[in-house]
Amino acid sequence: MTLKRPLITIARNGVGAFVFSCRKIEFNYCERSGSSRGMIEYLQNWLIPFARKNPQIEVVVTPRPSKHPLITGTYLNLKQKQVCVKNKNPDEIEEIVKLIRDNTGVSTKKRFKKPVISTTKSIRGIWSPFHTRPHSI
């Protein structure tokens, strides 16, 4: 007799409403270092329109002296993705920011053994040896 597991509901993001996965993006830069030059230009000119277009993301700007510039994305599954943008141009940084925004926190190293996950196993039914060869006299 199998034990009864307590039943829980599983979230299906997108079925009813879509909840955006990227919660917060933090920008670190250094005032003095040369590697932050592109980052500083990005923060001055490109960041505010980006934040306006994406009100669902909390944008944090923090100076981090004597360190390379860093972009950290925090996601709803508690994972983080960090990209160092040292010596990059503002347009390159914009692409990276878009990448971080469009991502979920799922690890990129994980191989997808099952690319499609679904509650309905198959439309046409699962094969059974008893229903394939109808008996004929």
């Binding site: 009864k4 039943l7 829980i8 509901t9 599983i10 979230a11 299906r12 079925v15 009813g16 409403a17 909840v19 955006f20 919660r23 917060k24 005032e31 003095r32 500083i40 923060l43 001055q44 960041l47 505010i48 934040a51 009100p55 669902q56 993301i57 909390e58 944008v59 944090v60 700007v61 923090t62 100076p63 002296p65 709803l76 509650t119 040896p129 008893f130």
Partner: protein, 341 residues
Amino acid sequence: MFSLVKSYSIFNRNISLLILRHTCFVAIRPFSNSNTFYNKKLEEQNKIVRKDVISPALNAFAARMRLNFSDPKILLQAVTHKSFTDTNLPSNKRFKELGKCAIQLYITEYFHIKYPLLHTNYLKDVVNIYSRDGTLSTFGHEIGLNYVVRWNESTDLYTSSTATNDEDQLGPTDENESPVLYESRKTTVKIGHVVARAVQAIVGALYLVKGPNSAQKFVQDHLLSRDLNVQQQYDVKEPKRHLSALMKRLGQEPPVSRLLYEAGRLTKEPIFVIGIYSGTKKLAEGFGSSLKMAEFRAAKNALLNHYFKEIKDFTLPSTIDIYQKQMSYIPTKVCDTPATV
């Protein structure tokens, strides 16, 4: 929204000023890497004490869940737990009471119409699973509500809503008089309850401010879209007996089981597939390693097919707009109660 960190550096690139000029709302967080006396003094001077300010996280949360309240204080009130005293706003208690009932209503209504022939106990179980604190707290964590709720961890006693909806509530229950009070040292448990209440409060606030339809949409989109295998719960000890009673109740021919396919009868691992028929109509099939087992499963499947019948297209009574005269409400057929043995 933005959160700016103040920099005390000499080389001012005017980033802070630029951002301050452009954004409508900025939360200033002091950056203190060094512990110099000068910096500390500056911090104290520049410390701005603001109460009831919407944090950037809360703004982002509202945009993520598409809650646009006309008055931003309402959302702030909805996420304020009663333990949070550093505020001029009332707590989310009133919103939570209304939201709790609204959630219960919309979930019950949905499953009542979706599974018209379901036994009441199972209906209650399903509704309970969707609307209990655990599910709401999980949902709240998944949308990032735990970073946004305003609460105070220092109070030790948190009322739990383990007094289930099935049990009779003795009169009007006041939270102070509730017999179920427990201490928990784990933050995760405490914040779970806070988050669950916040979810209920948000639904309540939506109901009050934006109307019942808005609240119903929220519940349907976020809570009812969650997946649950309802049929897994069905537990019946004597399915053949129940099926006989059901056929009698429906006025159909008594069920007869017939062996459809078999393989390996005399081996270690036989398979039998038995179909249960009412007259010439096959009710269900079941497989098993013995004839009895297959018959049991067939009867159980027949009962599942009947009682857990789903209706796919229906209109919920709560979504009907009273002023829309063109739309005529077509009620779903009121169905029979389960057959008793």
